[in-house]
């Protein structure tokens, strides 16, 4: 192309060409005799294969008084299998250069192995050994539980973690989402290896599990390898946690004192809505306008306009049971009261007092849709996306339908969804910080007398 063909016009930003319709790759599905789902997606960009096993049981399934059990069980999986010690399991993984990870969330446990194609079979065999045939030795249990207790001690210094743990408790009390996967020092101290065995035997089972494989591999091959590795995993599974009756609470202010802290860690939110809500897309779009991106109302207000934070964001955490809506920010201690007032005002305003304009919605929708394809660039991204389908029972074309569904939203739909699921009168506010800094007043926030929460009580 000759240079003169392109004239640069700096009087306005260049236009955008249309984005091609996104289509999620085909998922080929089968299942083993024991009920384990085997789902594969062809992806040959690099010579790697990713295996991700999702078990639809997580920290929400911790029995009462045993908070932290699901995570402790997950942590024990790679501590030895068959005749291999914990160190030897990891040496085997290291000999094939595998990347190994275990994630535990409220609703699920995910165990992943990514390896070079030439090690696919060995990688999958190791994954199965780890999940299905862990040794669960007493000596390893004592060590791992002690490491988790030590971790909890260290987390006492991390304001963001203190806030997350205290906020979950404030919102849910002792209901399934009332604790983070780590549990607490009190329950961890009484958990036993028998508890771990029981949890594993009851809930880490093929009936609640799906193996996702993404890479340069035929489904038949994946299925054959999966059958060899997981075929003798005995079938069945126990039920998942059930939703408790939720009690509506009035707005209130809670404080975990941290004298001398230069920043206040803030959480503001309430129990919101489950993943299955028909308002899902409208709420995702509403959140983009409110606090879900850099140019959202709350971030522009607190960061760009007031200059009191490095960043503020909001999110609906969509889960199997109603999850939380929350704002999180770390703000200048001296501006804590201001940040709370502005945040609550913004949350209230998006329900209609400050209507979502067509332009504002267009920015949020465009950010969600125009770049959608880049969420599915790597094998790991695709595998985790497929695992979400398995976890929440979403249809195969869910990702292909996301863009047209979001593009069809109107400002009214978005605002009315926000009005249905955001309630300023129920917002719980939590400050982890130095509330005496600069003689700030919190009374005008109308959140009642502040409740002091001790970090040790969490």
């Amino acid at each position: 192309m000759p240079r003169s063909a392109i004239a640069v016009d700096r009087s306005r930003l260049p236009g955008l060409r249309p984005v091609p319709r996104f289509a999620f790759p085909a998922i080929v599905k089968s299942s083993l005799a024991n009920g384990l789902g085997v789902w594969s997606v062809r992806h040959d960009a690099v010579p790697l294969i990713g295996f991700l096993l999702i078990v639809r049981r997580g920290a929400a399934d911790d029995p009462k008084g045993q908070e932290g059990l699901a995570a402790l069980t997950a942590d024990m999986l790679d501590e030895g299998t068959g005749t291999w010690s914990a160190i030897e399991v990891h040496q085997e993984l290291a000999r094939i250069g595998a990347q190994f990870d275990i994630d535990i969330g409220a609703d699920a446990t995910l165990v992943g192995v990514t390896a070079l194609n030439r090690f696919a079979e060995r990688g999958l065999k190791l994954l199965a050994d780890i999940v299905v045939r862990p040794t669960f030795a007493e000596d390893d249990f004592v060590r791992v539980r002690q490491l988790r207790l030590n971790r909890l001690i260290q987390l006492r210094d991390m304001p963001g973690v203190i806030a997350d743990r205290a906020f979950a408790r404030l919102l849910y009390d002792d209901a399934p989402y009332g604790h983070t996967p780590l549990g607490n020092e009190r329950t961890l101290a009484v958990l036993t290896l028998e508890d771990v065995r029981a949890f594993h035997g009851r809930l880490i089972r093929p009936g609640a599990a799906t193996l996702v494989a993404v890479g340069d591999c035929e489904h038949e091959t994946v299925r054959r390898l999966a059958d060899a590795a997981f075929g003798d995993w005995s079938e069945g599974t126990g039920p998942a946690a059930e939703a408790p009756d939720t009690v509506a609470r009035p707005a209130r202010l809670n404080i975990v004192p941290r004298p001398g802290a230069s920043q206040s860690e803030l959480r503001i939110g309430h129990v919101a809505v489950a993943r299955a809500t028909p308002d899902y897309h409208a709420l995702v779009a509403a959140n983009m306008v409110l606090g879900g991106q850099y140019v959202s109302r709350i971030n522009l207000n607190l960061r760009s306009d007031k200059g009191i934070t490095y960043g503020a964001r909001t999110a609906f955490d969509f889960r199997r049971l109603p999850g939380p809506f929350a704002l999180q920010a770390s703000v200048d201690s001296l501006a804590t009261a201001l940040a709370i007032r502005e945040s609550i005002d913004e949350i209230a305003a998006i329900r209609g007092d400050r209507p979502v304009s067509a332009d504002e919605l267009a920015v949020g929708v465009a950010a969600l849709t125009r770049g959608y394809a880049r969420n599915f660039e790597t094998a790991d991204q695709i595998a985790r996306a497929v695992a979400q389908l398995a976890l929440y029972g979403l249809p195969d074309d869910y990702y292909s339908q996301f863009v047209p569904r979001v593009e069809s939203l109107t400002p009214d739909e978005v605002m009315s969804a926000a009005a249905r699921h955001l309630d300023p009168a129920r917002l719980t506010t939590l400050i982890v910080g130095d509330v005496d800094a600069g003689g700030q007043e919190f009374g005008h926030l109308n959140l009642g007398d502040p409740v002091i929460v001790s970090a040790d009580s969490i």
Binding site: R3, V8, L13, P20, Q263, G307, A367
Partner: protein
């Protein structure tokens, strides 16, 4: 793995790297300016990073935030500042490449007319918030600053951290920003890489159209400085932490130089992951530490290895130190086992490919192309980079450990809970981090 690309240098000195990959309808734009905190001077620290913030606040022909139009176009975007370079990137849907190039070229060519005192003051406050959030208010968050200050002498440009000192940030003036821009932000000090869904010829024509009219600027002289440690120095820092942590650090070769890859492999087998020697002894067998890790931090004009281990409740930093010194001495004397070496090789191969799965963002192919081009002057370095790891031998690992991780040329730093300096390694001197 073959990453094919073409390189062009425009008349004004801007390097252009183009890599075609049509597997996803996105393009990564990645722009490196060869300036970082190492170009700052004492008393003026934190400047390169503060400047990076200002680059998102508007330019002459788009005098408002850069996030809005790009995010609305479906882009993800960000920037980062290190000691050696500042990078800016966008990953855009194919049809928004024009927009990304328009905006990148506008802030390269026309930033200053839009740069007001108000924006400057606002972004300085954002940076002070960032500093509080990521350093001051985070356990062990000041360790990196204290370690850099101890490893490198005050006049060495790695003495300070990229976030800068609070007093310097508060004293920064708008006219310094203008000087900084003119000196460092021009085509001859920059390299742009495009990776993804592009046709190279058309993409090059676009880059020319947007960037070629920008004035070349004066080439920047490389920064040179030397550092050495003549003995062991013991320091301590009190922090809001529950468990004391020991940090050991040694000066090592710069990035890509002889010994860099070997030290990467050696620190892995020594302290990273459950198969490492120190994890096994400290955490698994003796249970005197809660965690251990180490890395070769290779930078453009110097490197350092830092090893960190946290004492388990009831155990002490001297206990940890004794085991660490023993294991380093054993590795320096005998070298790795064949199995350790083989694991290191296959690990590097996998990690190398994992890093190149994406076209851009923080990392990915576009960023790697720029890293090789800017730091080595040779973007075609993928195979040789991997070969550095594949060709490392037992004796070569043993030798770098013996040569660089010497017990009597290191910084020993204890981070202890406030009021518990008795938990530090004996004879440590308290240091102040401002």
């Amino acid at each position: 793995m073959n990453i094919s690309f073409t390189k062009h240098t425009l008349a004004n000195g801007l390097d252009v790297l183009l890599h075609e990959d049509h597997s996803c309808p996105i393009v990564a734009v990645n722009l490196w300016y060869h300036v970082g905190s190492k170009n700052e001077r004492p008393g003026h620290t934190g400047f390169a990073h503060l400047f990076e913030h200002l680059m998102f606040e508007g330019s002459e022909h788009h005098d408002s935030g850069f996030f809005q139009p790009l995010q609305a176009a479906g882009a993800s975007l960000n920037g980062s500042t290190s000691a050696d370079r500042t990078n800016y990137w966008e990953v855009v849907p194919t049809g928004a490449l024009d927009l990304a190039l328009w905006m990148e070229s506008d802030r390269m060519g026309y930033l200053l007319p839009a740069l007001t005192q108000e924006k400057f003051t606002n972004q300085r406050d954002v940076v002070l918030n960032e500093r509080r959030q990521n350093y001051e208010n985070r356990p062990y968050g000041l360790a990196s600053m204290a370690m850099l200050a101890a490893l490198f002498p005050p006049e060495h440009p790695y003495h300070w951290s990229t976030i800068g000192e609070v007093a310097d940030l508060r004293a920064a003036k708008l006219d310094e920003v203008h000087q900084f821009f003119r000196r460092y932000y021009h085509p001859a000090n920059a390299s742009i890489a495009l990776a993804g869904d592009i046709e190279p010829e058309a993409a090059l024509a676009l880059v020319r159209a947007y960037f070629e009219s920008i004035d070349a600027g004066v080439p920047v002289e490389p920064v040179r400085a030397l550092a050495s440690l003549d003995g062991e120095r013991r320091i301590l820092l009190e922090d809001r932490v529950e468990l004391p942590r020991l940090y050991l650090a040694w000066l090592t070769p710069p990035m890509f130089e002889q010994g860099d890859a070997e030290l990467d492999l050696a620190t892995d087998l020594l302290a990273n992951g459950k198969t490492s020697r120190l994890y096994r002894r400290l955490v698994y067998d003796e249970r005197i530490a809660t965690d251990v890790s180490a890395s070769q931090n290779s930078r453009e004009i110097a490197g350092f290895v830092q090893l960190a281990a946290t004492a388990a409740p009831g155990h002490t930093l001297p206990e940890l130190e004794r085991v660490i010194v023993e294991e380093i001495a054993r590795l320096a004397a005998v070298g790795p086992t064949d199995d350790e070496l083989a694991r290191g090789r296959v690990h590097s191969e996998t990690q190398f490919i994992l890093r190149l799965q994406t076209v851009g963002g923080f990392g990915g192919k576009s960023d790697q192309l720029n890293a090789y081009n800017v730091l080595l002057g040779d973007a075609d370095y993928f195979d040789r980079d991997l070969a550095r790891y594949q060709e490392a031998t037992g004796p070569s690992l043993r030798d770098v450990v013996a040569r660089y991780l010497e017990p009597n040329r290191r910084i020993t730093m204890s981070i202890v809970p406030r009021g518990r300096i008795d938990l530090a390694i004996p004879d440590s001197t308290p240091v102040d981090v401002s």
